[in-house]
Symmetry: C2
Subunit: 486 residues, 2 copies
């Protein structure tokens, strides 16, 4: 049925369209050879049906972005913006074909300003490249999604990316002061400001942040920077089970300490990592673990805060604790967390990786219910993630595509539990294609209708990143036409 809809929605590009694109961006940057199209047919979303664009366009300037957008707007050609393709929800996949607009050539760090602690960047800058440039100036840009070595800042803003440090420092949206963008109708707008404060007009910056490329194409981003914290301390604590670990998390925060990171691994995650011989040897009876990291501008203060955290873990029944005393031990601790992705692949060939969020205090129930759902649907699961935020990366593992219907059934149950516990279906990956089905459950009909009206305020013709997120306007028309034709 999805396949049918996709075919129905596909349109042939207008005559000479690719040559018109080439006259804007140059022959080398409007590409329609099969190999390039294939490379742009998917992102990092597991089990996603690839979808070929008609042409991949790589503009080299804002003017070119605008010119391309105007060409597409004039002829009603779909445009799907794309950064590095590191997304995990299919947000940059051109489900109905058309143009995939890759922003990788807009990759200049225009300004890093120490006095005002702001940066101006183009959307194609790689996050890690940016962080290194910022750190070289003695400053700090906290967002740290797992794909930081290759994801782009434009994609980070489009998806409002998070990461472990979000507990203390917030997600990408907390650092976006303003953007420049090209609207689907071809106008260029400038939102927000260069200063951290400002309330002039509606907050369009926040509306674009996390809009997954459905409202506008980002061409420039102003980011807030922080003073670099001068000291970081890391520890790992092991618990007999999930419940005391989560209670310890709440107790630490209630006790007045705000670690920059509170990463959680459940029993199944620890078992998976154990097979990989991690540098830190988990004790045999480990039923849950926390990685705790504090930072600050005082060495004594940072260590004192971490020691208070470890004391709380002991009071809550931690059975082992390990405080890193040097950089190597810190890396060893993080290695156990970083091995997880590879570790789950050793258990089963395939997986889906969700990023559900529940109120922190409901993590034990969520983890227990996830294990129960695994049993019910005869699938392996494990849960790990950002305990301080209640953001769990729930993994469902399987070997063969014929298990997918059971995986889908498990996910239907899982999202039901998430919403019943007061949570949200996605903490940092986004809705895209893979959670589109569940969005109405979270938002409700009136809110969906409002969001549809917001989309229309930016994109009345519905040509920007169609098929994502919300019930698609053109898809609705097509479905209606289908129904009428029958």
């Amino acid at each position: 049925m999805r396949q049918l809809l996709r075919q129905r929605m596909r349109k042939t590009l207008p005559r000479d369209f690719v040559s018109r694109l080439r006259s804007v961006v140059g022959d080398a940057y409007a590409i329609d050879d099969e190999e390039t199209l294939l490379r742009h047919a998917r992102d990092e979303t597991p089990n996603l049906t690839p979808s070929l664009p008609d042409v991949v366009v790589r503009p080299g300037s804002v003017d070119e972005v605008q010119a391309v957008m105007r060409l597409c707007a004039k002829d009603g050609v779909y445009v799907t913006p794309r950064g590095a393709g590191s997304g995990k929800a299919g947000g940059c996949v051109a489900v109905y074909g058309g143009v995939v607009l890759v922003l990788d050539r807009l990759n200049r760090i225009r300004v890093i300003d120490r006095d005002d602690q702001v940066a101006h960047v183009e959307p194609g800058v790689i996050l890690q490249t940016f962080q290194e440039a910022v750190e070289a100036e003695g400053m700090f840009y906290p967002p740290d999604p797992a794909s930081l070595s290759w994801c782009t800042l434009g994609g980070n803003v489009a998806c409002n990316a998070g990461g472990p440090r979000a507990l203390k420092y917030g997600v990408t949206g907390h650092y976006v002061l303003g953007v420049e963008a090209v609207l689907p109708t071809g106008e260029r707008i400038k939102t927000g400001r260069q200063t951290t404060k400002g309330v002039a007009g509606y907050d369009v910056t926040s509306l674009l942040t996390g809009s997954e490329g459905t409202l506008a194409i980002l061409t420039d981003i102003t980011l807030k920077l922080l003073p670099a914290p001068r000291f970081v301390q890391t520890a790992l604590a092991v618990f007999p089970s999930t419940e005391p670990a989560v209670k310890a998390v709440s107790a630490m925060l209630a006790g007045g300490v705000l670690p920059r990171t509170l990463e959680f691994m459940d029993k199944d995650s620890i078992e998976a990592v154990r097979v990989m011989n991690p540098p830190y040897r988990f004790p045999a009876y480990a039923g849950a673990a926390l990685i705790i990291e504090t930072d600050g501008d005082s060495e004594a203060g940072t260590l004192e805060a971490l020691e208070r955290c470890l004391q709380v873990t002991t009071e809550h029944g931690a059975v082992d604790a390990f405080l890193a005393t040097d950089a190597r031990q810190r890396r060893d601790i993080w290695a156990s967390r970083r091995l997880l992705s590879e570790a789950t692949r050793k258990i089963k060939k395939k997986k889906v990786s969700e990023d559900i969020v529940v109120p922190r205090s409901r993590i034990p129930e969520m983890v227990a219910r996830t294990t129960q759902l695994g049993d019910k649907h005869r699938l392996s699961t494990c849960s790990f993630g950002h305990a301080g935020d209640g953001n769990l990366h729930t993994q469902v593992l399987f070997d063969d595509d014929d298990e997918l219907p059971r995986v889908e059934a498990l996910l239907d149950d899982l999202f039901g539990v998430v919403l019943a516990l007061g949570g949200t279906i996605t903490g940092e990956h986004g809705v895209g294609l893979s959670k589109k089905k569940y969005l109405p459950l979270e938002l409700g009909a009136d809110m969906l209708a409002l969001q549809r009206r917001l989309k229309d305020a930016f994109d009345p013709a519905g040509i920007l990143n169609p098929g994502k997120f919300l019930p698609d306007k053109l898809a609705l028309h097509a479905a209606k036409a289908d129904a009428a034709g029958r």
Copy 2:
């Protein structure tokens, strides 16, 4: 001309409308006696022409808010929501009459949750009442606008209120996880979530935050809380002039310390306060002052950070410094800042108080240009505010209303300088009526048009808080009709 437009836009309430309102909220809560109308004809904006509503309605529940909104939507009656009336831009003034909807009876703190560090509150809760309740649970809610003893949380969200602690902790918007609201069309929506993370759908929460009551009526707010910082240290440093003070601010932040507060007073502000005999006696040669406050979870760390700040001030030529060693001395330091408002009233009978923002490094230029503009327009000025954010509360002082044209001329120049320096016209007060004229200068035509479309997505009939912020739809019609009739 404004007066004419207001008269043109006023409509007589439909027959029996007030009695229909009374049947919804009870006779005592739909009030149209002159004294009540007069009390709701203005807010704290200086020099604002009062505007009488036709009726003041104080609903006692969300159901009543919705019922009132539906009555108004049905008959096209204007609705202007209002909290405590502490706003400084005229945002809650019913310029075209109609209903003023006061949310003061929705004043329950529904939940303060220690484990998840969130609170659920109704919009009419007084900020200080809330902060005290949160602190009693060992937690912390940072936003601290000057009106904290009487402003409401609903108003804080509607205006995205700030305060001195915003430097480290951000403004109100950083704490709003989600809201419940009634749309101008009568539907109830729920935005956001109970968790700190979440990216399901467009960020309508942020769009409502700072929308100044023009998009929806807030009926419930979910706020993020923080662990209470356990230690606070306060100091005051005096400089010979503005420039070294501001350079010291940049140097502190670049040096890796993030104080929670960095308040600035210029020479004219110090002179004004000196007359009031403040507990801290400013030296005769004081040309600028900074109040610096650090906080954290370690006593040693907090003190160390403040001492590093003071060292930086010394390196930048501070001529005096005073580190508070107890609560009384801390109060003494803050008294000099708090006396400012009264102090300026001693100099001249009247004032306008702006809240411009410029990039931090441009403060010296902004302060100097403000003094020059005062000379040019023969008016007294002074500048103080939140130096860390670049947010200056520029005061223009005068004695008599016949000086107002010169005040307006000065402000026209002032906002021109602000925008030329890369700043914004309002950091925390909002646009409302008093900065409506300047908003197009900051946003530009395409952005204004987009914001108008966003307004329409919420309020197609244009009945919620008309006349504010954006060129008004109905006002535009009226103006067109006027032009056509001529």
